[in-house]
Every structure is written in C-alpha cells, then in structure tokens.
C-alpha cells in the first residue's frame, strides 16, 4: 500500500510537470495550429537563465520571475521575427523553424553555460525533513509546490480565456484568424501574446521541474519531459486546456505504475510503454479526449 501511494504521488508530480508544459503547447497550438517543437528547449533555456541568476546570488524567487519574463519576451520575439515571416508562405515552414529552434536553443545554452550538469535550487522547502506523510508515503514540499503551481496556472488561464478581452480575442483568433481580423481583432498582436504566454508557462515548468528531475539541469533534461508533454497535449486533443491537464497527469501516473509494477518494463521501457498506451487510445479517439473534431468541407 505504502509503495502504491509513493508511486501514485511520484506519478502525479511528474504528470503535473508534463501538464504544465502541455498547457504551453496548447496555447501555441490554439493560436498557430502547430505543435511548437521548440517548447521544451525554450523552457530549458529560460531555466538556465534562472540558474545563472542564482549563481549571481539572486534569490530563487526573483530568478524564477526573471525566467518567466525572459520566457515571455523570447516566445513573443520568436513569433514576431521567425514564425510570422514564414507562416505567411507555408505552414510546413513553421515546423521547420521550430525544429531549428529546438537544436539552436539547446546549443546556445551549451555554448553559454557549458554542458556540465547544474543544480537549480528549488523555490519550495525540499530538505530531507520537509515532507508530509500520506498513507505512509512521503510527500515532499517541492512536489506539493508543483501541484500548486499547476492548479494556480489552470485557474489563471481559465480566467484569462473566459473573463478577459485578450482571452476572448485569443479564442477568436484560434477559431478563425480571418474572421477575427474582420471583426477588428489585431491578430498579429494576439499571436505574439500567445507565443509569449506559452514561453512564460514553459519557463515555469522548467524552473519547477529541474530541482525534481533525476538529471537535474543539463542539456538533455527537457527531452523526455517534452515528449511526454506533447503526448499529453495530443492525448487531451491539442486544443483543450483541461485535456492537457488530464493528459499530463494520466501519462505521469501510467509511467510510474507501469515501471513500478510490470517488472520487464522497469526504468528502461518506462517512457515507451506509456506512449504506446496513448497511441492505442488515439486509435479509438483520433481527436484526443477533449479535442474538437475538425470538419473539413471538400
């Protein structure tokens, strides 16, 4: 029982991180209709910025806020300078640019801060004694912090989309950019804000996950997290916030349970096994759990 709870808690924590990054992916997908392959490395780069600030003796909270701002500016700049010029010509080109950014940002982080593993301090209490006992298992402060961050973010994003003018315009642009423009929405500004927002959310995911990640902060830290997050976003239907959250947590828990209870899977096949299950589910529901079915008129 104790072991089960421990695995469940670990799965929930990993899942929350996947969900955070999946939310960033959903925001860009809704605005641009593409999967942002650079999302993970964008998060990595901003986490390096946060870590670098802590080495300059900045308090960790300040470093995190700075990383969020850098994430927003970087995301917005990428949309304005790289995505917008190519999108007008070809949707496929957006994908290529994102792939280029994926490798580019990773290399840039390596160039600026070398490839040694860094220790990013956690903003939450994560000493050996900082835990609460749940069903005999230990729940540490930084895991709780990640859950809390996810809940706060989902509430804020729901308010943004449902209650604010910018959120309304973001939904309008996602539904149909041309009609939104005809109604007077400044679509280019909205797209830029969308990318900026996803950059900031990605940064949040990055700074919260690296203190928990077994690899800590290194150049490969985000690879698996990004793959799991894209699977989570796909699983949830790519355009649904709740889908991203449910998808992320499902994958996190599935991974933890499969590697814990199915002996031949262990640590080696952990990532693959969860993804296989997702593929199976997508066979049954091609639009994901919460995705909007797209009708194409011929």
């Amino acid at each position: 029982m104790e072991l089960f709870v421990e695995r469940l808690l670990a799965g929930l924590t990993n899942g929350s991180v996947y969900a955070l990054l999946a939310l960033a992916l959903v925001v860009v997908y809704r605005a641009t209709g593409t999967l942002n392959f650079a999302q993970g490395e964008l998060a990595l780069f901003t986490t390096f910025v946060a870590w670098w600030l802590t080495t300059l003796d900045a308090p960790v909270w300040i470093a995190i806020v700075a990383a969020l701002i850098v994430g927003f500016v970087l995301g917005a700049a990428i949309e304005r300078l790289l995505i917008r010029p190519v999108q007008r010509k070809n949707d496929m080109a957006v994908l290529i640019v994102a792939l280029g950014l994926f490798t580019g940002l990773n290399s840039l982080a390596g160039l600026l801060w070398n490839s040694e593993t860094k220790i990013m301090p956690s903003p939450f209490p994560n000493g050996l004694e900082d835990y609460v006992s749940v069903g005999g298992a230990r729940l540490y402060g930084d895991a709780l912090g990640v859950w809390g961050a996810l809940i706060v973010l989902v509430v804020l994003m729901t308010l943004l989309f449902r209650r604010t003018r910018i959120g309304l315009h973001m939904r309008a642009v996602a539904a149909n950019p041309e009609s939104a423009a005809l109604a007077g929405v400044r679509t280019s500004r909205i797209l830029m804000i969308g990318w900026g927002l996803s950059g900031a959310i990605g940064a949040l995911a990055g700074v919260l996950v690296t203190p928990l990640a077994p690899e800590q902060l290194g150049l490969t830290t985000m690879f698996h997290i990004f793959i799991a997050a894209s699977a989570a976003a796909l699983f949830g239907g790519l355009d649904s916030l709740q889908g991203a959250v449910v998808g992320g947590i499902t994958i996190g828990v599935l991974e933890a349970m499969l590697s814990g209870y199915v002996s031949f899977i262990g640590g080696e096949l952990q990532q693959t096994s969860a993804l296989l299950i997702i593929v199976a589910i997508l066979f049954i529901r091609p639009n994901g759990l919460f995705g909007t079915a797209r009708t194409v008129r011929v």
């Binding site: 309304l168 315009h169 939904r171 309008a172 539904a175 149909n176 041309e178 009609s179 939104a180 423009a181 005809l182 109604a183 007077g184 929405v185 400044r186 679509t187």
Partner: protein, 234 residues
C-alpha cells in the same frame, strides 16, 4: 466629401489581377449594390476593400486613405460581412463581443448587444450556444450583428442571400434597409439576387470581368432591358 471614394482599384490573387482598375463612390447613408455574374470580381472587390488581400489604386474614407490591415479598416468605420458568413465557432454572445474589438465603451457595447438581440431575437435565444450550431440563416443574422457591433459607417455585405431560404433573405434585406434608415449606416452590397438588392438600393454598379460596365441610379437599371435580361430574369 464622399464616404468611400474608390479610384482605379486593382487587386487579385497570386499575382493575377481579377479587378482591372474599378472606380466607385459611396456617399454617406447610401445603399449601393454591385451586380455581376460569377467571376466578375464582386468578392475580390469586397476582400480588397476589407484589407484581406493587397490592392493598388486609391481608396479614401472621408478623404483619408483606407488602411491596409483589416483591423485598421474596421477602426475607420468599415465592416465586412464576408461571403459564407465567417462566424466564429465560439458562443453567440462571444461573437458579438468580438465584434466590438475596436471599441472601449463598455456600457455602449452592452447596450448594442441588447439592441441586436432585440432586432434578431434568435441571437438572444441562442446567446450561449456555439455559433456552429446555428442554422445558415441564424448565422447570417449573427454575422451581420457582429459586423454592426463595431458601429460602422459603411457595412460591406458579400452575397448575404447565399444559401438562405427566400423568406429569410426577405427578412434580412428588410432589416438591412431598416438599419440604413434609422442609423444612416451606408451599405455596399454585392449580390446575385439582384431583385431584392435593388429594392433597397439607390445606386447600382454593374461589374463585368473586373471592370465597371455600367453605373447609375437604380431606376435606370430597372428599365434597362439588357440588365433585366441578364440579372433580373424577366
């Protein structure tokens, strides 16, 4: 000074011109109808005026040059109800709110939403439904109401009757005429359904393969045998 002054407008797609230098004028409060066969360039004219495609030539609004981006043009008081309606698949109420994107007067926006829900009662009944669940006629009402939410001085309508039942089309044109009378909103309507459009129009332009073939007051066109034969069918 004319509300809209189009001089030598040329536009098209992918480097191929569809319009070859058309000129037209819309005065304040006018109802202008552009008639033309399929492929004459009616929709291209509308898309060029709304900023959806590039254009050459001069277009002025109240003497000032027309903007290039769609949202700039809406800010100048020109709103397009696109062909095929272009409603957004968000709730009916949200569609109306998006229509007020260029406005900041919260009270006025709320009052206008109430007003259009009264003019088009179906919008009030379906306020929280997604626009995609509405019938074609209902979506057309929503598209018109959304365009009016920006308080335009000139409303562009691209084939508003397309795909609608005759009775719905009649209602729609009656409402458009009413809005023109009460608010003084000028209308520039592109139509294949010439009969109904000419009932509410005062000026007609005849578009043939990207050029203006004829223009004048509506009465003259009603008596013109070639127009009657080609566009009115009697």
């Amino acid at each position: 000074m004319s509300l809209l002054e189009v001089t030598d407008l040329t536009a098209g797609y992918g480097g191929r011109d569809v319009l070859h230098g058309i000129s037209m004028t819309v005065e304040k409060g006018d109802v202008v109808v552009v008639l033309g066969a399929n492929g004459a360039g009616k929709t291209t004219t509308m898309r060029a005026l709304a900023g959806l495609i590039g254009r050459r030539g001069s277009v002025t609004v109240d003497g000032r040059p027309l903007g290039r981006r769609p949202d700039e043009i809406v800010r100048q008081g020109i709103s397009l109800v696109p062909q095929g309606r272009g409603t957004l698949d968000i709730s009916v109420l949200d569609n109306l709110r998006v229509g007020a994107a260029v406005r900041k007067d919260q009270k006025g926006i709320a009052a206008d939403i109430d007003r259009w829900c009264e003019v088009f009662p179906v919008l009030a009944r379906r306020a929280h439904q997604k626009a995609g669940t509405l019938s074609g006629g209902e979506q057309q009402m929503l598209a018109v109401a959304r365009a009016l939410m920006s308080r335009p001085t000139l409303l562009l309508c691209d084939e508003p009757s397309l795909g609608l039942a005759p009775i719905v089309v009649q209602e729609l044109f009656a409402t458009l005429a009413e809005i023109n009378r009460t608010d003084g909103t000028a209308l520039l309507i592109v139509e294949q359904n010439a009969e109904l459009a000419m009932d509410i129009a005062n000026t007609v332009y005849l578009l043939e393969v990207g050029t203006i073939a004829a223009e004048g007051p509506v009465e003259r066109f009603r008596e013109d045998d070639t127009v009657r034969g080609a566009y009115l069918g009697y």
